[in-house]
């Protein structure tokens, strides 16, 4: 029996990587296969330390690449094990082929992605190009604003992934360095409570069941491939419900509610910012500041990116006094109209057939700092847009012109 480390709710000074590793320790996965990559490296180091000291029962595979990390997770999950990994930026890109295999085979692998820019030029710092590039690989995608959310989201991700209605892999992103490496106050939950919350993995079609041999990863020709893809769409629709239910269950047990989106002061807002990840936090501080001057700004933070909560976003906008929207994209879509999040929000408007003036801000690429001044600058542009001024569709924050 592995030792009980955290016996009661404890507030600790943790980095995002430490928080993620701690969640993994408490989840106690059967198999972890991972390859070190900045800024995920210390996450794996912390976890390896747990393995080295008998704090988990996990079979830990220090693989030779991210491609093999995900491949081993696929093998382990198909064998009926609870499998986890973690990566960042180029590592996620290297996994790309196997991402679709994990989701296509409906294997509930859970992974932290420490969001990092993609090469070239090489850059180790935070942006969300990695996950945005992988957004159609059939994974459920959650994003965290800070270390505590990463911790909470990972714990929930296990339940979301393993639910019989979903059986989909989940990746949980946190911004590289500003979250992964920054010390912050994190609420840790007791080991046993987490264990109880995530519950037992109930494997489906285990490869280790030699009495009932199954074939995983068959060839689907033109006569069946499309049916399996249709099933995946359905699973994502279910995931929308399951994520909400798990969020509610988490609130019941641990007193903190997670929904697909988090709204901040949107009710009376004239202007709405839509942001994913750590910069949503900075935006809250700016919103408080500008509200002192009477400027009513609200924030919609996207937690669930896949399945995208179109109606949650539209409901929040509709319930406000929204006159204009500023979408923040920490990733580029070269050749597209604006960033990937902009595209999703535009789709949300289409689905409700309700349209608001909206502009996009590309920010924080390759770890470029996005501070209070830049967010104020963005708010200023959204206000001008609302006032009928012509503002470019795509605006860059903190760019050297």
């Amino acid at each position: 029996m592995r030792p009980e480390v955290i016996k009661e709710v404890t507030y600790v000074p943790y980095s995002g990587n430490m928080a993620a590793a701690e969640a993994m320790r408490q989840i106690n996965p059967d198999v972890v296969a991972a390859y070190p990559i900045t800024p995920q490296t210390e996450l794996m180091q912390f976890f390896a330390d747990f393995v080295a000291n008998g704090l988990v029962d996990t079979e830990y595979i220090p693989v030779e690449s991210e491609h093999s990390a995900m491949s081993a997770c696929v093998g382990a999950a198909a064998a009926g094990a609870r499998a986890m990994t973690a990566t960042a930026g180029p590592g996620l890109a290297y996994m790309w082929e196997v991402l679709g295999i994990a989701s296509g085979m409906r294997l509930p692998v859970v992974m932290t992605v420490v969001n990092r820019a993609l090469s070239a030029p090489i850059n180790i710092h935070g942006d969300q190009s990695d996950m945005m590039g992988a957004r159609d690989q059939g994974w459920i995608m959650l994003f965290s604003e800070n270390a505590e959310e990463q911790y909470d989201n990972l714990i929930q991700a296990i339940k979301i992934a393993e639910d019989e209605r979903t059986r989909l892999p989940v990746m949980v992103g946190m911004d590289g360095f500003v979250v992964s490496h920054a010390i912050d106050r994190v609420r840790l939950l007791p080991d046993r409570a987490v264990e109880e919350f995530v519950g037992e993995n109930k494997p489906m079609y285990s490869l280790l069941d030699v009495d009932n041999p199954v074939t995983h990863g068959a060839v689907a020709m033109t006569d069946s491939y499309m049916e399996f893809k249709r099933q995946q769409r359905e699973a994502m629709l279910h995931a929308y419900k399951v994520i909400r239910e798990v969020g509610e269950a988490f609130a019941d047990v641990f007193g903190k509610k997670y929904e697909h989106i988090e709204t901040y002061k949107t009710d009376d807002a004239d202007y709405i910012l839509i942001i994913i990840g750590s910069t949503a936090g900075t935006a809250k501080a700016v919103i408080d500041k500008v509200r002192e001057k009477g400027v009513k700004v609200g924030l919609i933070k996207i937690r669930t990116f896949r399945p995208f909560p179109y109606y949650d976003v539209m409901d929040a906008i509709a319930a406000s006094n929204c006159k204009a929207i500023g979408v923040f994209d920490r990733a580029e879509t070269f050749g597209g109209a604006a960033g990937p999040l902009f595209g999703e929000v535009a789709t949300a408007m289409f689905l409700r057939n309700k349209h608001y003036p909206m502009i996009d801000f590309i920010y924080g690429l390759g770890g470029r700092d996005t501070n209070v001044n830049h967010i104020e600058e963005a708010i200023d542009k959204v206000m001008k847009l609302a006032a009928g001024e012509e503002i470019p569709l795509v605006n860059y924050l903190n760019l050297r012109e």
Binding site: D30, V31, A33, D57, T58, E59, I61, P62, V63, E64, S65, H67, S68, A69, S71, A72, C73, V74, G75, A76, A77, A78, A79, G80, A81, A83, E97, V98, I101, M105, S206, L207, L208, D209, V210, P213, V214, T215, H216, G217, A218, V219, A220, M221, S224
Partner: protein
């Protein structure tokens, strides 16, 4: 690593092996006369006799494509395919899951299971090389079996690093300026042996007793094993379907495909042709070498013979050295 103690465990005679159920069902869509399914069947003969359940990870390739076309599977064992280049990494995950779940008491204790990764030469020598090397180095308890048919046959006879010199392939075809592949084949077993794993072997299904002995050793070995098996491809080699075993035998009898093993670092030749035949005997049965039999090409055949001789000599030296060290 535990030492392989296999001498006392004997395989029953061929006739007795027929008493076990076939675990590779017919109805797979491999070409008529394919060597790969012969190899798989012979592996099952050993596993059946020793009471092992095999759990497979199959790299993308002929075997994978032809045995698992939805909704049909030829496998009566647990089997997984995930991609071309990751059979070794995939089986590593399965094996790790086994260890973890076994430790947690979640698996029955009365079963003998062994994990097998299966790939063609493309999935082994080339694109799957990294994941294979990683899995061998980490020491997972599994057997990697490469069915080496010396090119990317699944996709239409493209050259691989296992393709022999002067073979005609679709990506290095014979032409006015080309005699086929310009390089000799990579010697994969030596690369595998360089990982210091407990067991490496090269085998051929024509010499089934030898192959079965080797698979038996791999089965009984704790830790990783690598077996490179010669796998006739009538379509890709332009050989006659019915001559598949003959071609395979000739590969062995000419020393083109020597049978040997590396057990805990000791090299041993397991079969020595009494009077090795000239390489032409092997080449002439295959259309992929047809251009070498035109007038003026004698030096090219000699070149191939020289390479065979060189490797054979090298192998003998390794064996000798193993005895001395």
């Amino acid at each position: 690593m535990a030492e392989v103690k296999t001498a006392e465990i004997k395989l029953p005679p061929l006739k007795k092996l027929t008493n076990y159920p076939e675990k590779l069902a017919p109805g797979h869509r491999l070409c008529a006369g394919c060597g790969a399914s012969i190899i798989i069947r012979q592996m099952y003969m050993v596993a059946n006799a020793l009471g092992y359940e095999l759990i497979w990870a199959n790299a993308t390739g002929c075997v994978e494509v032809c045995t698992s076309i939805y909704p049909y599977t030829s496998w009566k064992s647990p089997w997984i395919h995930s991609a071309f280049e990751n059979a070794a990494a995939t089986i590593a995950g399965v094996e790790a899951a086994y260890k973890a779940l076994k430790r947690k008491g979640k698996l029955p204790t009365d079963k003998k299971v062994k994990f097998v990764a299966l790939g063609g030469d493309g999935g082994t020598y080339d694109i799957g090389f990294q994941s294979l090397s990683g899995a061998l180095e980490r020491g997972h308890d599994f057997i990697y079996v490469c069915y080496d048919n010396e090119a990317y046959m699944n996709t239409g006879i493209q050259r691989s690093s296992a393709t022999p010199k002067y073979a005609n392939t679709t990506t290095q075809p014979v032409g006015s300026e080309s005699l086929g592949k310009p390089q000799h084949k990579k010697w994969m077993p030596e690369v595998a042996a360089a990982h210091g794993i407990p067991y490496v072997a090269q085998a051929a299904p024509s010499h089934w007793k030898d192959f079965m002995e080797k698979f038996k050793k791999a089965l009984l070995t704790e830790g990783p094993s690598f077996i490179n098996v010669f796998s006739v491809c009538p379509r890709g080699w332009r050989s006659k379907e019915e001559e598949g075993i003959l071609v395979t035998k000739l590969a062995v009898e000419t020393n083109y495909w020597p049978l040997f093993e590396v057990e805990n670092g000791k090299w041993r030749i397991t079969y020595r042709p009494k009077n090795p035949k000239p390489i032409e005997e092997f080449l002439k049965l295959q259309g992929r070498f047809k251009h070498l039999f035109k007038p003026g090409m004698e030096s090219k055949i000699k070149e191939l013979q020289d390479e065979v001789n060189r490797r054979w000599e090298w192998l003998n030296k390794l064996e000798q050295l193993s005895r001395e060290v």
